[in-house]
Subunit: 206 residues, 3 copies
């Protein structure tokens, strides 16, 4: 499990940087930047743990999350002129992050003996709701509701994970295959600028 | 209890449709529409259950909520040109929904041996906060804070329920009478365009 | 402990008034004003208790919070033309309130055997997140992220409290000294219009 833990921390780091960058753009003070980095990085897992009654929740049970987030804010502060152009690297981190968050959340749901479909929702909550809280607190329309095949990639990877569960593969292999599905779908979607269809608002007015 | 369960599901269905319609108007993608339908329909009960430590929480303990919400989104998608004009039918569903949500939340609070007044608050949280989360995520000023005698109807119905509790009526009768109070107040309020008084902002400036 | 309890109630009262004033300025109806007063006053402690699994949570376990908040709304309603100009008195109440909320939250975290650093975060959550919820629900950019040395004062007082813990002082003395740190820093900051530095947004664009 230590490789997955390492990726979990790397994903947390990437999410925290993405939160910090948004907060800096909004002229938040240092404290505000830390808060937004924090909720972006651990908000999804925190909501998941509260909903499934998994105490101590993620960042309370493992102090490393807090150190990771504070380090990410420091790195953002020191190297922001270098980080901002690194869009591809950030995208890579972020994408690996959501794949790991989704599958760890799903696994945790299954460990808590939730219905597989509910566990799937928990995986998506883990991956997505940190960004939703970030967007609510910084007054942006939550991005994931409009522009990205993001949650859909998580959903597809989660479904693959559940299907592979039937095959009784090696646990690491199962995890890696499902993660690759998420990374691949999201990368292809962004490269080719795919979006989820919208339900045409042809009759409702605004 | 099975009639009340059926009304609970019907209310969930109506709330999910109302959430889906708002999200479609905001040009959310399919995933965004599902999320908003979801939080509108089960958000109030979810907050209630987290606050009173009632695990598994509503939609985790009963998978039917998820199916109901997905069905409601599908129905909205397929028939939106037909649903949008059905304002009176939607209003009816929605009003029955809040009356049931209020009283079920209140009952649950009493079952958890909360102070009756706290249980009353829990009833209102159940009925109202799904809509509040919907409005926060879609960046609308939460409607219920400004325009409708909605929470007040729930409050009145909840108080009636608690008073009838003293009379030791038949449980179904008690439930139905209190629900009628809510439905009646809200209907009268909407038909006659009543609003709660505002505290006049004559000295504070904007 | 009864002096601290009294200050806790006084802080709750002050927070509720501050919430009610914001809601009145936004033209909320009576019910909306009560809700905003409520979440402002007990929202921080509520989030803390949910995160650390401390049930019954603050206002469920002690009905006095609800009465305090309703009284505060009533007072705001009756005397709003008199309260609004009392900025210094309000500031005093509010500042005493955050100092007590911070330290009670921190103590509760330590009692739950959290890592001292996590307990410190819980103290700040208790003091700050009521205001954050208020601002999200009334569609303001959360003030504390931009304009005030507020969270920083709480942080400093919390650190002092933890350091004094090592000295094994009398518990009341420890509490009072740490509270004075918070009150002093915030007062000095407001009088001299100090702000936390911002991370200069010189490369990111808007």
């Amino acid at each position: 499990m230590s490789i997955i833990y390492a990726i979990d921390i790397a994903g947390t780091f990437a999410f925290a940087i993405s939160g910090a960058l948004v907060a800096i753009k909004k002229d938040f003070d240092v404290f505000g930047v830390i808060i937004i980095a924090f909720v972006t990085a651990v908000g999804g897992g925190m909501i998941r743990d509260v909903l499934i009654n998994a105490h101590p929740i993620n960042w309370i049970g493992d102090i490393n999350y807090i150190w990771t987030i504070l380090s990410a804010v420091l790195v953002t502060f020191l190297f922001k002129s270098k980080i901002a152009p690194l869009r591809k690297t950030m995208f890579l981190f972020d994408t690996i992050g959501i794949s790991v968050f989704t599958l760890l959340g799903l696994q945790k749901g299954l460990n808590y003996e939730l219905h597989p479909f509910v566990a799937l929702v928990m995986g998506m909550v883990s991956a997505v709701f940190g960004g939703v809280i970030r967007d609510v607190l910084t007054r942006r329309v939550p991005l994931i509701f409009k522009k990205e095949i993001y949650a859909s990639a998580c959903l597809a990877g989660g479904v693959v994970y559940l299907l592979l569960d039937q095959l009784q593969l090696n646990a690491d292999l199962q995890f890696i295959l499902a993660a690759l599905v998420i990374v691949t779908i999201r990368t292809v979607a962004v490269v080719y600028e795919l979006e989820l269809p919208k339900i045409k608002n042809d009759v409702l007015g605004k």
